[in-house]
């Protein structure tokens, strides 16, 4: 730790305790986030149980290729993020910066692919409203939830990309202490949340109605 924009902040008295505190805080926040998406997944579940056929028919309209490739992209980004967080512990600056850059780029790739997918959905007018191509009203419910859930996931992803890019930039400029700094673990945990939520959304959105 040469140049030290002090890691230890008020009200903490030692670094280890501060790190534990930050990790604990972000876990509590993640619990809150899970209930946030949990409410929506509950809504999805109730509507799907009430309208199984309509939901299967609507889900068949989604593009499974975009969804699957994106899942792979996001899982890979979680790997690079985890390596970055561990690398920070060892003070391997170059590795951390490259891994953070890779994470941000993979996240961005996910966003761009999602954008192409949205464009195609719009071309097929899969937006609830008068021009909606499917007959059953509940199919519109599926797509209402599709847009809301993926949209909220995209907002979380954007925030995540911002956080990771910031750490990457500070790391590259040497303006941040790596070892013992709680920011890396906190950002990594937040990034994994984005990943975990997508792991739940993927089967809910793309897989219904595809088995038969």
């Amino acid at each position: 730790m040469t140049q030290s924009p002090a890691v230890l902040k008020e009200p903490w008295q030692d670094l280890g305790r501060q790190r534990e505190g930050a990790a604990f805080g972000i876990w509590v926040f993640l619990a809150s986030e899970l209930l946030f998406f949990g409410g929506m997944i509950l809504l999805y579940t109730v509507y799907r149980v009430e309208n199984p056929e309509a939901f299967a028919a609507a889900a068949r309209e989604t593009d499974i290729w975009y969804g699957t490739v994106n899942t792979a992209v996001l899982l890979t980004s979680s790997l690079t993020m985890a390596v970055a967080a561990q690398g920070a512990e060892q003070d391997w600056r170059r590795l951390v910066v490259w891994c953070l850059a890779a994470t941000a780029l993979l996240g961005l790739t996910f966003g761009i692919l999602k954008g192409f997918e949205y464009a195609e959905d719009i071309r097929k007018s899969l937006i609830p409203g008068p021009d909606f191509p499917l007959q059953e009203p509940a199919a519109q419910l599926f797509f209402a939830l599709y847009w809301t859930m993926t949209g909220l996931h995209a907002i979380h992803l954007t925030i995540g990309i911002g956080l990771v890019s910031r750490l990457c930039l500070l790391g590259a400029l040497g303006r941040i202490v790596l070892r013992g700094n709680p920011q890396f673990e906190v950002t990594a945990l937040y990034w994994h949340l984005i990943d975990v939520i997508w792991i739940i959304l993927y089967p809910l959105i793309y897989l219904p109605g595809r088995a038969s």
């Binding site: 805080g25 509590v28 809150s32 929506m40 209402a144 909220l152």
Partner: protein, 558 residues
């Protein structure tokens, strides 16, 4: 005299300036990360919202003085009671005790220099203010008429008022609430002073901790519900629209999954305050401390499983109704345990009726009436009879206003000397406390009767036979308003002319009384060590400590 930590002389009193004199510029307040200053910021904003909500309901009560519509139109009336509900629930009741007194006292009570994330704490205040600004914007732009519950499909399809701005404001306030909850939980876990074990925590800390858990786990469900309203109303997505396959009852499930636990966000901190005040002014250790703790955790836990009792008449299956009814009876058990334990604490106590104690005893009476009428509403047949009548209005005002606001004033008077370093005029404070109790009962008790007789809530005209009850209620509201305005006067007076309070004017135990009043920026000059449980008012082998708070003070000053 034994105290919670080492004897009071042991902690050196620093010559550091108090947190109030650490800086006088506006920037030193608006950019502060000191939990005590943030508490003051909340105190100012929350008081403002309280009076805003109060003005709205004053007009409502004036309108209800006569059976005809002679003051405001039906539309204005809807907007007024919505404004009252939205402001009072989300910008007064929920942030009041946790964000003002929790912020100020939690670190002091556990011997910490600040909360775990001081900058997040300040951000919470800005989020709260941002949310309130949006809501007040909605008010200026014409108001909202959905009621504070935003029931769909009215809020999403038919209301042509400012639902979006209000929902966005409440969303921001909710985010603020989550951030505060995370902060308090992390603080309680990570920053307790050496020796401050979990079962040595003051009950107020336990109350704030339990409240924070409810905030963190329930508020996100409200957030998603509000986002879905916005998605339906603004983007036209069918979420709860029955004509496009949606289910409005699902909205109610999601909404009450938050909003019933929200009642405990309001009441648990109040219970914490009352526990502190009663034990102090009865000069007795809290009866059944561990039961008090488990009861609070129980209330917070079971509180998540009773939301369905708001929907007995909304088209639920009878089996679901049965289960929700049962669970609603069950959640009353821990509350009853607490009331019994407070009573047992008072039994054979050396009670002194100072103003905080009068407010706390007021809480005890009003909360008991509110709780018992809650049992009426948990019982499905009675609930079907009184649903959406003034009986329900009276019930939740007894809990939320009679209970929580009484406790809020108890806290305000109890910790006022600690926060400001000044004593208020006791006679005036006692008078206000008694006036508030009478004004409250005068206002809300007639509403039980008129509700039971069948007067529905949210109507601005009513059959003339209900007038006598409404006149009583409106007259009571005048007394209540006077009782709320009085503290504003004498507390402001005490800031300038009040006697110096000294470190511990009530001769109370608890770490917060060990430091100077007002406390210095860093709370304690040296990290305190705790070696005794809380509320050690009658240590073994010692005769009860004599209690003459009014004659102390001057010399004891830090």
């Amino acid at each position: 005299m034994t105290t919670i930590a080492a004897p009071s002389g042991d902690l050196p009193v620093s010559s550091e300036p108090s947190y109030l004199s650490a800086g006088y510029t506006l920037g030193s307040w608006l950019g502060t990360s000191d939990h005590k200053r943030i508490a003051i910021l909340y105190a100012i904003s929350v008081t403002l919202f309280f009076f805003l909500g109060g003005i709205a309901v004053t007009i409502v009560r004036v309108e209800l003085f006569t059976p005809e519509a002679d003051v405001v139109t039906a539309d204005t009336y809807n907007r007024l009671f919505t404004l009252h509900g939205v402001i009072m629930v989300w910008f007064f009741m929920i942030p009041s005790i946790p964000n003002i007194f929790g912020n100020f006292l939690l670190p002091l009570m556990i011997g910490a220099p600040d909360v775990a994330f001081p900058r997040l704490n300040l951000m919470s205040w800005y989020l709260n203010i941002g949310g309130a600004s949006l809501t007040i914007y909605a008010l200026i732009a014409g108001g909202v008429d959905t009621g504070w519950t935003f029931y769909t499909p009215f809020s999403t399809m038919f209301s042509n008022t400012h639902v979006l701005a209000t929902a966005a404001g409440v969303f921001l306030a909710g985010f603020s609430s989550i951030a505060t909850g995370v902060n308090f939980i992390a603080t309680t876990h990570m920053l307790r002073a050496p020796g401050m074990t979990w079962f040595r925590l003051p009950l107020f800390v336990w109350a704030i901790y339990a409240t924070s858990i409810v905030m963190v786990l329930a508020t996100p469900v409200l957030a998603i519900t509000l986002i879905l309203i916005v998605a339906e109303r603004w983007l036209g997505l069918p979420i709860f629209d029955p004509s496009r396959g949606g289910d409005p009852v699902l909205f109610q499930h999601l909404f009450w999954f938050y909003s019933h636990p929200a009642v405990y966000i309001m009441v648990l901190p109040a219970m914490g305050v009352v526990s502190e005040v009663i034990t102090c002014f009865a000069r007795r250790r809290v009866f059944g401390y561990t039961f008090m703790v488990y009861a609070m955790i129980g209330i917070a836990g079971i509180g998540f499983f009773v939301w369905g009792h708001h929907m007995f008449v909304a088209g639920m299956s009878p089996y679901a109704g049965l289960i929700f009814s049962f669970l609603s009876f069950v959640v009353a058990v821990p509350s009853a345990i607490k009331v019994f334990n407070w009573t047992a604490t008072l039994y054979r106590g050396q009670i002194s009726f100072d103003a905080p104690m009068l407010y706390a005893l007021g809480f005890l009476g009003l909360f008991t009436i509110g709780g018992l009428t809650g049992l009426f509403l948990a019982s499905i047949p009675v609930d079907v009879h009184v649903t959406d009548t003034y009986f329900v209005v009276a019930h939740f005002h007894y809990i939320m206003v009679g209970g929580t606001v009484s406790a809020f004033f108890a806290a305000l008077h109890f910790w006022w000397p600690k926060i400001t370093g000044r004593l208020y005029p006791e006679t005036w404070a006692r008078f206000a406390a008694i006036l508030m109790f009478f004004g409250f009962n005068f206002t809300f008790f007639p509403q039980f009767i008129v509700g039971y007789l069948g007067m529905p809530r949210r109507y601005h005209v009513y059959p003339p036979e209900f007038q006598v009850y409404n006149v009583l209620s409106s007259a009571g509201a005048v007394i209540l308003a006077a009782a709320y305005l009085m503290p504003l006067g004498y507390l402001a007076w005490s800031l300038v002319w009040g006697r110096r309070a000294g470190r511990n004017p009530w001769d109370a135990t608890g770490l917060e009384w060990q430091t100077a009043s007002p406390p210095p920026r860093e709370n304690f000059p040296r990290t305190p060590h705790v070696d005794v449980g809380p509320y050690d008012y009658h240590p073994e082998g010692m005769s009860p400590a004599p209690y003459q708070p009014r004659h102390r003070g001057q010399g004891d000053q830090a």
